[in-house]
Structures are given as C-alpha cells and as structure tokens.
C-alpha cells in the first residue's frame, strides 16, 4: 500500500466524518422539532405563539382583547415594535412617550413592564402586577 493510498484512506475517512457530522446536526434539529410537535400535534395558534414568544404574547393578546380595532395605542417601551404592528393590526401603534403631551389622539397606553411605567391618570386594567393598559379617553 503506497503512501498515496494512505492519504486516500485518510481523505475518505474525513469525507465520511464530514457527512456524519452533517447528519448528526440535522438529526438533532429534527429530533428536537419532532419532539416538540409530537408533544401536542394539534396545537392551536395561541398555544404556538405562547411557546415561541412567551410572556410577550400574553400581553399583546391581552391588549388586542381589551382594545377596539380602531384604537390608537402608545407603548411605553419599543422592544417589540414589529410584533406589536403585526398582532395589533389594524390598531395604530406608537412608541414616542412625548405624544401624550403633544396630542390628544392616544386612546390607550400599554405598560410593558420593561421600563418604569408612565404615570398618567386613566382607567387601569392590569394583566399582572407590572403589565397592563391604561385607558385614557
């Protein structure tokens, strides 16, 4: 067996190792996902979002339930801008706290619990001790 054959053997081994490593990573991904799906195959939309988005989804669902579709909403934190846009559409969503002073058009203020809450008079409805909404008008 010549030296080049040994090199060939080593290369074959490396190629096989690469393919196996690839398959292992894929197997891991597949196993994790199928396990998650298999635990509850008919998971409704809300349960799916709850798994993926966690506590945030509870708040946004709460806001959607407690506000009319034409509401104008101010969030005290802008940590989930795009998700707010999606889940609360067609409500109009703002994040600039100064808007409260400058405009009368805000209907609700959402207290996200991420930042010190806005102290403003209004009808308060809380989801938990930190998060909830204040109805201004």
């Amino acid at each position: 067996m010549g030296g080049h054959k040994l090199v060939r053997l080593v290369l074959q081994f490396v190629v096989a190792l690469v393919i196996l490593a690839q398959l292992f990573t894929a197997a891991r991904w597949m196993l994790e996902n199928i396990t998650l799906i298999g635990a509850q195959p008919s998971r409704p939309f809300d349960a799916q979002m709850q798994i993926r988005l966690g506590a945030y989804y509870d708040l946004v669902r709460f806001v959607a339930q407690e506000t009319p579709r034409d509401a104008t909403i101010l969030f005290d934190s802008s940590s989930h801008i795009n998700l707010d846009l999606y889940f609360l559409y067609p409500r109009r969503v703002f994040y600039d706290r100064d808007l409260i002073a400058r405009t009368q058009s805000i209907d609700y203020v959402v207290l996200t619990g991420d930042v010190p809450p806005i102290a403003i008079p209004g009808q308060k409805k809380m989801l938990d001790d930190k998060r909830g909404i204040i109805k201004l008008r």
Binding site: V15, A21, A26, W29, M30, I37, Q48, I81, N82, Y86
Partner: protein, 1076 residues
C-alpha cells in the same frame, strides 16, 4: 385543513406555470426543471401582480385568477412553439441500494422539514413584520407601500397576499418549496457534472445543514433568494462551459427574479457579470450575451427600483455606494473589516448551526488540488460571493445612525451566508468526482442490503420508542449516573484532556479517578455527540438508542455467519434486542456502558469463530477489535464474558481437531492444537493491548480505590440470587433487587425467547444445517448460567469466587441474552438437507441458496449477483411475535427534568447528597465525605475558583492569588500564586489523594511558568487530602493529576497495538491485491 390544501394547490398551480414556462429551455434536465418550476412560476406571477397594482387595479381573487390564467396562456403558447422531440422524457432511474439509502435520508429530512414548516404559524419577529404583515396588508389593499420595511422587494409578500386572499395561512409552505427547490437544483447541476451518487451525497450534505433546513421552515426571503441566486450562478457556470445562450438567459432571468426578492441582488448581479466578462472569450458573440444578461436583469429590477425611488422610500443604496467609494479610494476601514471577518471565522465553529459545511471548502480544495486550474470559474464565483458577503456587512457597518454592526452580523450573517453554502457543496461534489477519491467506495456494486437485515432494523425501532419522547428516565437505577458520568467526562475534555481519568466533582468535589477504573468507551461516543451540539441528556439518550439498534445487527452478523441463513439471523438479532433483560438494562437499570458492551458480545464470538475456523490476519484483527472494544466499553462485562469466550474457543478447536485427527489424542493433534490456538490467543492479547490504555491502569491501580462500598451490605451477592419462577414470571417493575424472591425488578427470560429456545431443541435433534454441536454449546451455556443464578449454586460461587466475574448472580442474565438469542435463530433452520454434515471449519459446502459460505461472510453485504433472500411470512410473523412479546415492557418512567434540576455541578451535588451515589473515594480515605467546602460554594450559587482549604492558615502570613475568573482551576489540577511570610506553611487541597497527583513549585518567566522543583505530597486526615509544605516567598504552585507508569505503559501499548492492527490490515490489503 382547507387552508393547507389551498396552499398545496397554490404551490402546484404556480409550479405548473413555471414548468410550462421552462419548456422553452430545451437543454435543462427534468429535475432541474422541476427545481426551478415554482421559483419561475411564483416569481413571474407575483411580478405580474405587482405590475397590475401599479396600473391601479385593486387586489382581489378575480385579479389573481386573471393574472394567473393570462400568464399560463402565454407560457402555453410559447411552449407549443417548442418541438416536442427536444424534450427528453423523464426516465425512471435504476437506483442501487446506496442511492436508495441516500434517497431515504433525503426523504426523511424532507418529510420532517415539511412537517415542521407546515405545523408552525409564522412566529419570528421579522418574518411576521417584513413578509407576512406586508403580504396581509397587500391582501387588504392597503397599497404596496405598506407598513414596515418598505425597501424590501415584494416577491414574497405578493405570494403571501395571494395565498391569504385565497383563504390560507400556510405561509411556510412557500418557503419549504423554495428550500426543496434549492436542493433539486443543486442536485441536478451536480448530476450533470458528476454522477448520481456524488450528486446525492452533495444534496444530503446540503439538506442536512441545520441552518438551511431551519430557514426552509420560516418565512424569510433568504431561502428564496438563495435559490434564485444559486440557480442563476450554476446556470452561469454552465454557460461559461457550454456557451449556450439559453443558459445565459436563464441565469439572468433567475437573478432578475432574485432582485424582485431581496434588495442585495444588484451586488450579486455585478459579481456574476464580472465573472461572465472575465471568463468569456473576447468576441462579439460573448459581448452580445453579456449585454443581453444585463438587459434581462435590468428589465426585472428596474420596475421595483423606479417604484421605490418615486415613492421616496429609504434604501441602503447610498450607504452601499459610499462604502464602495471608500474602498475604491483606498480608505478601507480595517477595524470594521476585521470585525466582519472575525465574525465569519467564528461562525465556522458553529457546528450545531452549520454542521461541517465550512470544512468542505478546504477539503474540496485539497481533493481538487490537481484540477485547480480547471476549477477557476467556480472558485472565482465562490470567492466573489465571499467578498460580496463580507462587503454586505462591511457596508452595513458604515452607517453610524443605523443598528450596530454586531447586531447586523448576529441577526443576518448566517442568512446571507446561505447563498454561499450551496456553491461550496457544488464545488465539493466536483472535487470529489474529479479526485476519484470515493470511487472505490461510492462505485461499489457489492452493497446489497439483506431484506431481513432491513427488517431487523425496522422492527428494532420499537425498542427505542420510549427514548424518542421528551424527558428522560431520571429515576432508573443508573439513569442519573449515566448523564452525570458524561457530564464529568465532558468537564475533562473541555479542559483539553483527550483521555480523561479523573472526575473532579465526584464526592462533593473531592474528586475520584472514575475513568481510570470504569471503561470510558460509551462516554467517548456520548462526548462526540455532545460536542456535535446535543445536550448531555439527549446525547446519553442517543447512545442508549444506538446501543440498542446496533446490538441486533451484531447478533444478525454472527448468526448469519454461523448458519448462512438470513431468517435465523433475523430471529436471533430480534430476540437479542427484545429479550426482557436487555430491556431491563435500558429502561430499568439505565446501564449505559453495559448496554453498549452488549453490542460486542456477538461480535467477539464471531471474531474468535473466524480466528479458529478461518485463521488469517483479517480474522485476527476482527477478533482483537471486538474483544478490545468490549474491554473498553465495560470491564465487568468483559470479565464476565471471558470464561464463555475461552469455552467457545476451546469448543471450536476441539470440533476442528476432531475432524482432522482420527484417532483424536495423538502427538500431532497436540502440536496442531497449539498452532490452532495461536491466532485466537494472539487476537485476545491484541484486543487487550488495544484497550490497554484503560485496562492496565484499571487492573494495577484498582487497589487505589475503596471497593468495600460496592461489595458489602446491600451489595452482598448472596442476597441477589434469582429464583426459578422469576425466569418465567411476566412480572415487571422498576425497583431494585432485594434479598429473597421479592425483587422489584424482573429477571425473566421472556416467554417468546424461551419458547423459541425450547423449539430450537427440534433443530438440534434434526441437526439443522449441520450445526448440532453449536446448538448444544449454547443450550449448555443457557442451562449453566441459569443454574448459576439460582440460590443452590451458592457453594459454587464461594468455591470458584464467581463474584470476581459478576457483581450479582442475576447479572449472568447477560449471558443468557446471548445464548437464548442464538438458540432462537435455530428455529428458522430446516432439516439437515444439503448442508447436513457442515462443521465449523467447512467452507466449501453449498448452502441452500446456492452461495458459497465464504461469499456470504459479510452479513449484510453479499457477493455480486448473490441471491437476495426472499421474505417469508411465517418468519415475519415470528418476528412480530417477538416484538409483541416484549412490547408491554417497552415503557420508561420518564420525567422532563430531574428532581435535582438541570444538569450541572449543583445538580450533581444534589444527587450525591440525596442518593449517596457518585461518592467513591480513594483507598486512603477512612471517612467518606458527606459534604465539602466546594458544595457550600455551589449551593450558594457561586463558582469554585480554588480547591485550597482556606480555613487552615493565617491570611496575614500566607496569601493566595486565586484567579477570579476561575481559570486557575481545571478538572485535573490547579495553578495558583502564593506569598508566604515564613517557611512553616502548608497548603491543603480538598482533593482526594490518588497516585498521579503531583505538586510543583514554579516561577513566572514572562507569560509562562517554569517548574523549579516538585514538592512532596503528604496525605492529610480522614479524607486523604493532598497537602504540601511550601517555601517562604512569592512563588507559584502547580497541582496536576498526571500519568503514572501503568497509565503511560497502557497508552504506549494501546498505541502500539493500533499500529500493529494497521500494519496487519495494510498487509492484508496488499496480500489481497497481489493475489488479484
């Protein structure tokens, strides 16, 4: 469900449109056409909808239908003009087994990705915001300007909008189809350039890249863009080789549709155009093709650009242009570039995300070294793409008002790098093909899977069913041990110790030389899985699963070799998997190492069978590897099995000698016998030699640990005999073995294996396949081991010191597992028929299926043209019966999390505290610790930074500079600086003394420590802690657990044995070649 079928119909309709449109491309294969169909159909459809909306026509189901019908009509008219003869019919390929195997792998991956894709609703913030929300707003006629991220092109949002209007939310379906299309396109191009097998291998590599399959299940435009760009680039590559105009047109159209998908397409267009110009001949025809390339791309890009410009939407054009200008003017920001490059390099190590894909490029360059010049086109395309990748992020970092570069890299690098990955796989396929490195492997036509073997694997899957669910059997006897053994093993590996011997967190942190006395084979496998990205529990579960699944084939191979019957091998393999004690080992005892060792019992019998019957270098190596692997995975099993192995070898020798020598007892027989014994004896020695790295220190240093913990009280073997009724009792339990017959676990043989073994007596009487003596051997083994498990064997246990071989009498069930399984196989054999007088050394008799026995020596690999065994219904029904017989026992008491919490050092300490397990100590310890100062630290939620006992010296006299980041302490020691005011100070480490511990005095020289001398260790107190006297002044102490003479000798013997095995194999190959 309606929404799901709507999405399927939507995808099918658009794919049909693309299929028709591609009919004009006469030169592409049917698979490539299939791969491009949806991309072309969907891209042109959404583009047409966009143009319609620009005309002010509102979006509605009628408009969608009208646009679709119009496009289909146009495609149909164009397709009709194509000569039908120019399209080659799709031939059904004749696939061999390897190709089928690869297709099965691809099928499984595709199926899982499809299920995952259609199961989840969009949930990632930017898929919701950029693509889905936009699509829904288009559907609501909110105008194409829309809410978030107006700068992104609208190919995907228009498709989502159309799907939404048609009443489906199965958005991910679109992205899955793009991902699958990408795989098809890469496959078709590889198939064209190489061969089917390499194309399949390449596609498997691509499709098993986690990030790529993940992207196919979420609604990002990166997968669609990757398809458009990669398909375009591969068409361009083909054009540069063939100069066919069609390929250039297709490449331009695809890139144009890419520009309609993501905003960075012009950059990729510029790169592709540069390659086109660079590698085309400098003539008029090539120039016209380049111009045409630009015009087609521009026609598809311009409407979107004009729309964005007229609507005054923000774009990144200015930032990109300024970055390009910056580079061209020689004002390259090296810091920013190195930040991007460093991030790219760091991603190379992200095995769980990218798998080994990043290794492919250097590997491909090595493989394709000789054809480097011929590969310049594809290498340039890859290099340009890499430059584009770096430039994309370099330019993103140019805008100080935008998001930080680090944020962009973290969020987007992998997604953009997606476009690079398929090109590397493609080049890898080319290099693999051109190098011919895999010819011998992939072009083999000898690989034929025995259907009974496939059936065995299929039937074995039920045995690992409980492992596939969430959670783990934490409450099983050694459930937590198995996970935490791996955890400790990993602690050492993470410290760069390639062969761990010391487990630092045993016994509340005092440590224990666990892997010095407990075979580590199973943990090397588990660690490999853990390093591949699996957590400790999943890695452990996979090792359990592999051990179960592989034990069947091992038995299959051995019995097939013995009997030349696939049916017998199938039944034996299946019984070996499903025999109740095997299931006890998994789900009741969770004995990981022992379970892995069970794979090697039939393999060892097989190896030594060959060594006696068919002595050669190959059989010697096979026997040595099997026996060595058994020692390396479980020393107890190796010890238990060795007497059986000796009996097996002697039995085979006697049978063979009896055939050769009549009369039997002659001087010649003795010398012949000694010659016959040489190969198995050398095989056994070589096997032990291979495992010497473990075996030698384990044997010589075993007296350095206390064993009374494991042999007295509960562990007294006299309390653990089984009772005859228990062998046939269907009782099942998850408890422990107790004194007397009231055991809480099962010791049954299993009703089906027992019945099959009883019926095997019929085969014995009939001398089925001429193997009567072999059935007698295994029947005798079954009866003997059964007898030794019963209480009346106590005198024998005492006389023969059998406890040396088996901790408990019922552990002999391990041996009955083997013998029962082999006996069960006998039932599939018929009468003496045409192989009536076959003996173990007889290799010339014709077995029933017409093959020679020699040819069938590879159990799953048959000779070319060999007959494939026909499946027999009664045998399959027997197989089902074996599975059903054990099916009720296939349960595990799983919980998601252990009572001790997540796998961690704290979890391990809680386990030690609550169960008193993993608290082994060295022989110098007189009082087994029940707590430690380290435990105090861990329970306080802090990290141990030193194991020095700080309470035993005056800090005013002795000062220690412990590194606060914990980097001074490792699993095999500690490095610490000290300053002693006088010379009468001692230092004590809260570590058990065991041979191999050394303490050195060292001085700092630059950044390195230079050892000046070794300090003698004294063993302190009842916990046998390590203590040294230290000199006055400021110095460093280096505490290390090092190799002793037996460990060094063992390592060298193992290394030498591995070398010897390689030499023997090379000699075997060389001999075979010379013979040829």
């Amino acid at each position: 469900m309606i929404g799901f079928f709507t999405a399927i119909s939507f995808v099918a309709a658009l794919a049909f449109l693309g299929w028709l449109a591609l009919r004009r491309c006469e030169t592409i294969s049917q698979i490539e056409r299939m791969g491009l169909a949806y991309a072309i159909g969907a891209g042109s459809f959404s583009f047409a909808l966009f143009l319609t909306s620009l005309l002010g026509i509102p979006f509605s189901p009628v408009v969608i239908l009208a646009v679709y019908l119009l496009l289909t009509a146009i495609a149909y008219i164009i397709a009709r003009r194509t000569s039908p003869n120019s399209i080659s019919p799709a031939a059904i390929p004749q696939l061999d087994q390897l190709e089928i195997l690869l297709l099965i792998v691809l099928g499984i991956i595709s199926l899982v990705v499809f299920v995952v894709a259609v199961y989840w609703q969009p949930y990632v913030w930017d898929e919701l915001a950029i693509w889905v929300l936009k699509g829904k707003l288009i559907a609501a006629n909110d105008s194409p300007s829309l809410a978030a991220h107006p700068a992104y092109p609208l190919n995907l949002p228009y498709q989502i909008a159309a799907l939404s209007i048609l009443g489906s939310d199965s958005v991910h379906m679109i992205f899955f189809v793009y991902g699958a299309s990408l795989a098809l396109v890469v496959y078709s191009h590889l198939r064209e350039e190489t061969n089917r097998r390499i194309a399949l291998v390449g596609t498997v590599i691509l499709c098993s890249t986690t990030f790529l399959i993940y992207e196919s299940t979420i609604a990002y435009a990166n997968i669609p863009f990757a398809l458009y760009y990669v398909a375009s680039t591969l068409c361009l590559y083909r054009y540069l080789r063939s100069r066919r105009r069609t390929d250039a047109i297709l490449s331009a159209v695809l890139l144009g549709l890419g520009a309609w998908t993501r905003a960075e397409a012009p950059l990729y267009f510029a790169m592709n155009l540069a390659v086109l110009v660079l590698f085309s001949p400098k003539d008029l025809r090539a120039a016209s093709h380049a111009v045409m390339y630009g015009i087609i791309f521009g026609a598809l890009w311009a409407p979107w650009v004009l729309f964005v410009r007229t609507a005054n939407y923000p774009t990144d054009f200015a930032v990109v242009a300024s970055s390009a200008g910056e580079i061209l003017n020689g004002r390259l920001d090296w810091n920013r570039l190195s930040q991007v490059a460093n991030f790219a390099l760091s991603r190379m190590q992200a095995l769980p995300d990218w798998g080994a894909l990043w290794v492919l490029l250097p590997l491909a360059v090595i493989l394709g070294w000789r054809q480097l010049r011929e590969s310049k086109t594809i290498l340039t395309l890859i290099a340009f793409n890499a430059i584009g990748l770096l430039f994309t992020f370099y330019s993103l970092g140019a805008d100080p008002t935008a998001n930080p570069l680090e944020w962009s890299l973290n969020l987007g690098f992998d997604r953009v790098a997606l476009q690079w990955a398929p090109l590397i796989v493609f080049y890898f396929g080319l290099a693999l093909h051109n190098s011919g490195i895999m010819d011998g492997v992939l072009n083999s036509t000898r690989f034929r899977v025995d259907p009974y073997f496939a059936l065995l694997i299929l039937f074995s899957i039920f045995a690992i069913g409980p492992l596939l669910g969430p959670g783990y059997f934490w409450g099983a006897h050694d459930g937590r041990h198995s996970v935490y053994f791996l955890f400790e093993f990993d602690r050492a590996i993470q410290d760069g110790i390639w062969y761990p011997r010391w487990a630092p967190d045993f016994t509340f942190g005092f440590g224990y030389p666990f892997f010095n006395i407990y075979a580590p084979g199973a943990f090397f496998v588990g660690e490999f899985l853990h390093l591949a990205g699996f957590d400790f529990v999943t890695a452990t579960k996979i090792v359990f699963g592999l051990a179960v699944i592989l034990s069947g084939p091992a038995m299959f191979g051995f019995v097939k070799r013995l009997t030349n019957s696939s049916q017998a091998a199938f039944l034996a393999g299946l019984v070996y998997v499903y025999v109740p004690y095997h299931i006890v080992d998994i789900y009741v005892r969770a004995a990981l190492a022992e379970l892995v060792a069970l794979i090697f019992l039939p393999l060892t019998l097989w190896g030594f069978y060959e060594a006696v019957v068919n002595p050669s270098r190959k059989s010697l190596v096979a026997a040595a590897l099997a026996y060595g692997a058994m020692h390396f995975t479980h020393n107890g099993i190796a010890l238990l099995f060795t007497p059986v192995l000796i009996a097996w070898i002697l039995f085979l020798m006697v049978v063979k000698l009896r055939q050769r020598h009549k009369p039997f007892f002659t001087r010649r027989m003795v010398s012949d016998g000694l010659r016959l014994a040489a190969v198995p004896l050398f095989g056994a020695l070589l096997g032990v030699g291979l495992a010497a790295i473990f075996v030698l220190p384990a044997v010589l240093e075993y007296q350095g640990v206390r064993t009374d913990q494991w042999l007295a009280n509960y562990y007294d073997y006299t309390n653990h005999f089984a009772y005859l009724f228990q062998a046939f009792s269907p009782f099942w339990g998850f408890g422990i073995s107790n004194a007397g017959p009231r055991d809480e676990m099962s010791f049954q043989l299993g009703v089906v294996p027992s019945v099959l073994a009883i019926f095997a007596v019929y085969s014995l009487l009939k001398n089925a396949n001429g193997l009567r003596r072999i059935w007698i051997f295994f029947l005798a083994l079954t009866i003997l081991t059964m007898t030794l498990m019963l209480p009346f064997s106590l005198p024998l246990w005492e006389a023969l010191r059998l406890v040396t071989f088996a901790q408990f009498p019922w552990r002999l069930l391990t041996l009955t597992n083997v013998s029962l399984a082999i006996l069960a196989g006998a039932i599939a054999l018929h009468g003496p028929d045409n192989s009536a007088n076959r003996q173990p050394n007889d290799h010339t008799n014709q077995p029933p299926d017409g093959q020679t026995i020699q040819e069938s020596s590879n159990s799953t690999i048959q000779a070319p043209g060999g007959l494939t065994p026909q499946l027999s219904l009664p045998i399959i029904l027997l197989g089902i019966l074996i599975v059903l017989g054990s099916f009720p026992y296939l349960i595990a008491q799983t919980t998601v999390e252990a009572a001790e919490g997540p796998v961690s050092i704290l979890g391990l300490l809680k386990f030690q505290q609550s169960a008193g397990e993993m608290t082994g100590v060295s022989a110098w310890v007189t009082d087994i610790p029940t707590w430690s100062p380290m435990a105090d630290v861990y329970f306080a939620g802090k990290r141990v930074k030193s194991k020095i006992e700080f309470s035993e010296f005056n800090p005013d006299i002795l000062y220690f500079g412990v590194k606060q980041d914990g980097s001074g302490i490792r699993s095999n020691g500690e490095t610490v600086e000290f300053d002693a005011q006088d010379a009468n100070q001692t230092v004590t480490w809260n570590i058990d003394y065991y041979p191999g511990w050394h303490v050195y005095l060292a001085e700092k020289e630059g950044n390195d420590l230079k050892v000046t001398r070794e300090l003698p260790i004294s063993i302190e107190g009842e916990h046998a802690r390590i203590q040294v006297n230290i000199p006055q002044g400021r110095h460093w102490l280096v505490l290390r657990f090092e190799d002793t003479l037996p460990r060094i000798a063992g390592t060298w013997i193992s290394g030498g044995s591995v070398l010897l095995v390689m030499v023997l194999l090379i000699a075997e190959l060389r001999g075979r070649k010379l013979a040829e």
